[in-house]
């Protein structure tokens, strides 16, 4: 099939815009990482930051950079990418910007398990992560099974997820009432998503998860884009919709659950990244990579704002939550008026 010159021009324009947006987003992510390495409780000049990172410097400043700020920035970046990509995959698959994992119960499943481990069993570290990921996947499977009636429908999946989510939220609230007062604030902080206890060895599992499950999603990006046109159309175009849907749900859930295990369910990042990326870049290409970069930029910026710009030191989830609430209203109002999704 030979495309007309006009069509080719439009496609070239779309590609150009896409590359521009990707470059801009990457620059922004790197820029905020640099900023959050330099600026904190004290200012460290860029030269000293580089010296500390390469191991050329020692002392208090180097400790601040290497042990406090660098792990935090790396973790923020990775978690943001996982949330952004996982969220966008869900939104695309279910064809609804509101159907992000933090609203349909996936994050709630991971959080419930993690809070239970922290407060009741007194666990920490790796065990909490494993429990969160397992529970996230378990809840996703439960939602999928409960929504199954000779095939899943997006609507049913979302609604079942909301029901499960409400139940889990209530369970979380109950576990928090059992928390002794010294760990309640810690648990609350974790519940909103926080990078306060970031350590560099948390980054490795997250990076692996991003590579594996992000890779799976990336490989399926064309099928995912086709499914945007509706299940029947996608099936007609040769997409094995039930298989693709199952794989995408598993991979996206794993991304979100790993990120939740590392940083807590950072409010609304999974929900916001996709639509923002779509506004910036979407002209027919896959939304996954722009969404991942947007997620990283969001978490980094919000954490930076929470640490430095606000009067009280808020955890990152509070900042994203406060950003998210008005944007949510805006998004729903606009999209509903237009009558489209994402």
């Amino acid at each position: 099939m030979i495309a007309s010159p006009e069509l080719r021009a439009v496609r070239a324009e779309a590609r150009r815009r896409r590359r521009l947006v990707l470059a801009l987003l990457s620059t922004m992510v790197l820029g905020v990482i640099g900023l959050s390495l330099c600026v904190g409780h004290s200012f460290v000049p860029p030269g000293a930051v580089i010296a500390a990172l390469t191991g050329a410097a020692d002392g208090g400043e180097a400790f601040t950079i290497r042990v406090l700020r660098a792990p935090r920035a790396v973790l923020a970046c990775l978690a943001g990418m996982c949330f952004g990509m996982g969220g966008a995959a869900f939104q695309t698959l279910l064809r609804n910007p509101l159907a992000s994992p933090d609203i349909i119960g996936i994050s709630a499943g991971a959080s419930a398990a993690a809070v239970w481990c922290i407060v009741v069993l007194g666990l920490s570290g790796m065990a909490v992560s494993v429990a969160a990921v397992t529970a996230g996947l378990g809840v996703a499977a439960l939602i999928y099974v409960l929504a199954w009636r000779g095939g899943t429908a997006g609507t049913r999946l979302i609604l079942v997820g909301i029901g499960i989510s409400a139940m889990l939220q209530s369970f979380i609230a109950y576990v928090l009432t059992q928390a002794p007062s010294w760990s309640l604030l810690e648990a609350l902080r974790w519940m909103t998503g926080s990078l306060n206890a970031a350590q560099i060895d948390q980054a490795m599992p997250l990076a692996v998860a991003l590579a594996v499950f992000g890779g799976v999603l990336f490989a399926l990006r064309r099928d995912l884009e086709t499914m945007r046109m509706g299940d029947d159309t996608a099936a007609g175009l040769g997409v094995a919709i039930d298989r693709v849907r199952a794989i995408v749900i598993c991979a996206a859930t794993a991304l979100v659950a790993f990120a939740t295990a590392a940083a807590g369910p950072v409010a609304f990042v999974a929900f916001l990244s996709g639509p923002i990326a779509a506004r910036l870049a979407y002209r027919g290409g896959s939304i996954l990579v722009p969404a991942a970069l947007t997620g990283a930029a969001l978490v980094l910026l919000a954490d930076f704002a929470g640490q430095v710009l606000l009067p009280t030191r808020y955890p990152v989830g509070i900042v994203t939550g406060m950003l998210g609430a008005p944007y949510l209203v805006l998004l729903i109002v606009r999209d509903n008026r237009r009558g489209t999704s994402l």
């Binding site: 509101l98 349909i104 609604l159 009432t177 007062s181 808020y314 989830g317």
Partner: protein
């Protein structure tokens, strides 16, 4: 045929409902950390608190009353919301109305400290009203109006946003965190008549308005255009009924904390037994909601004895499966 059966079984259903309510009340004063006998119940109900059993019974009476009142209010409120939105999934919890009331109360608590209950009551109602309007506007904009899916999603999203804000208020205030957290679960434990008295007039007001709207809701159920054709001013009918529903669930939340799913489950049960007319659903929802919440409270006292499970948790675990069952087995666009 089926119509006849419904008509003849309605009085029986009402009788059974009243029986259940009385039974639930008896169970509620009997069971707890200490199980009381018949003589102790009689002594306690008569105001004789010289024995431990009598005192236990006497302290369970206001608790039972609060559970019954809140359950009735939530059940009625849910029924009205389902009628207004013509949405089988409407419930003060699912639609984010409880979360609005909760945020308002938590802000009051953080700013004003221990202010009189009346203040909480009015802030809770204001918060509930704002959240209800926001959710309905958000979901109702655009093509297709407020479909069940859009309403449920808008409610869930607003709940997430409001919860996030609530945490933002609580986090810098370690001193009130425990208090807020135990309130946010939703329970009727430790109820006193002093806590019940201020919400009574508001609940009564909401109930009167809601019950008066039964005929309007029946008309709305025919669809907006038909309702308009029958001479109903659709938006005004919705607004008046919504005012009643918001007053009811705001008052219940102010007294007990956010309790979900009662408003969802109860109207569906009533619809199954008493048919689709709101003139039957609304009053029976009050009685069923009261019985359900009292029984849920008793269950919460029994499962973890001698500790207690707050009634908000019990209703969530009873209600969420019902919600999922409705989603699975009905065409959710119907109603």
């Amino acid at each position: 045929m089926s119509r006849d059966r419904t008509l003849s079984s309605r009085p029986v259903g009402v009788a059974i409902l009243i029986g259940l309510l009385i039974l639930a009340g008896l169970l509620s004063v009997t069971f707890g950390a200490r199980v009381t006998g018949w003589t102790e119940i009689r002594a306690g109900l008569g105001g004789d608190v010289r024995t431990v059993g009598g005192a236990a019974v006497a302290s369970r009476v206001p608790r039972t009353a609060l559970a019954a009142l809140a359950g009735g209010a939530l059940g009625l409120s849910g029924a009205v919301m389902q009628g207004i939105t013509r949405n089988p999934l409407a419930d003060p919890g699912i639609l984010g109305v409880n979360a609005g009331a909760a945020l308002a109360v938590v802000v009051t608590l953080a700013v004003g400290g221990l202010v009189p209950l009346e203040v909480y009551l009015w802030t809770a109602i204001a918060g509930a009203a704002v959240a209800a309007i926001a959710v309905y506007l958000i979901a109702g904009l655009g093509a297709g109006g407020a479909t069940p899916l859009k309403l449920a999603l808008a409610g869930a999203a607003i709940t997430a946003a409001l919860t996030s804000l609530t945490t933002a208020v609580v986090l810098p205030r370690g001193d009130i965190a425990g208090l807020v957290q135990s309130w946010l679960v939703g329970g009727v434990g430790g109820a006193t008549w002093d806590r019940i008295a201020p919400v009574l007039p508001v609940m009564a007001f909401g109930a009167v308005i809601s019950l008066a709207c039964a005929r309007k809701l029946d008309t709305l159920a025919l669809g907006d255009e038909t309702a308009a054709g029958m001479g109903e001013t659709v938006w005004r009918a919705r607004l008046v009924a919504a005012a009643g529903a918001v007053a009811l669930c705001g008052a219940a939340t102010a007294a007990c904390g956010p309790i979900g799913f009662v408003g969802l489950v109860v109207p569906h049960l009533c619809r199954l037994v008493f048919g689709v007319s709101y003139r039957w659903i609304l009053p029976t929802s009050i009685a069923s909601g009261a019985a359900l919440l009292v029984v849920a409270d008793v269950a919460g006292r029994i499962v973890l004895r001698p500790a207690e499970l707050d009634v908000g948790i019990v209703t969530a675990f009873l209600g969420a499966p019902v919600f999922i069952a409705i989603v699975r087995h009905r065409r959710v666009s119907a109603l």
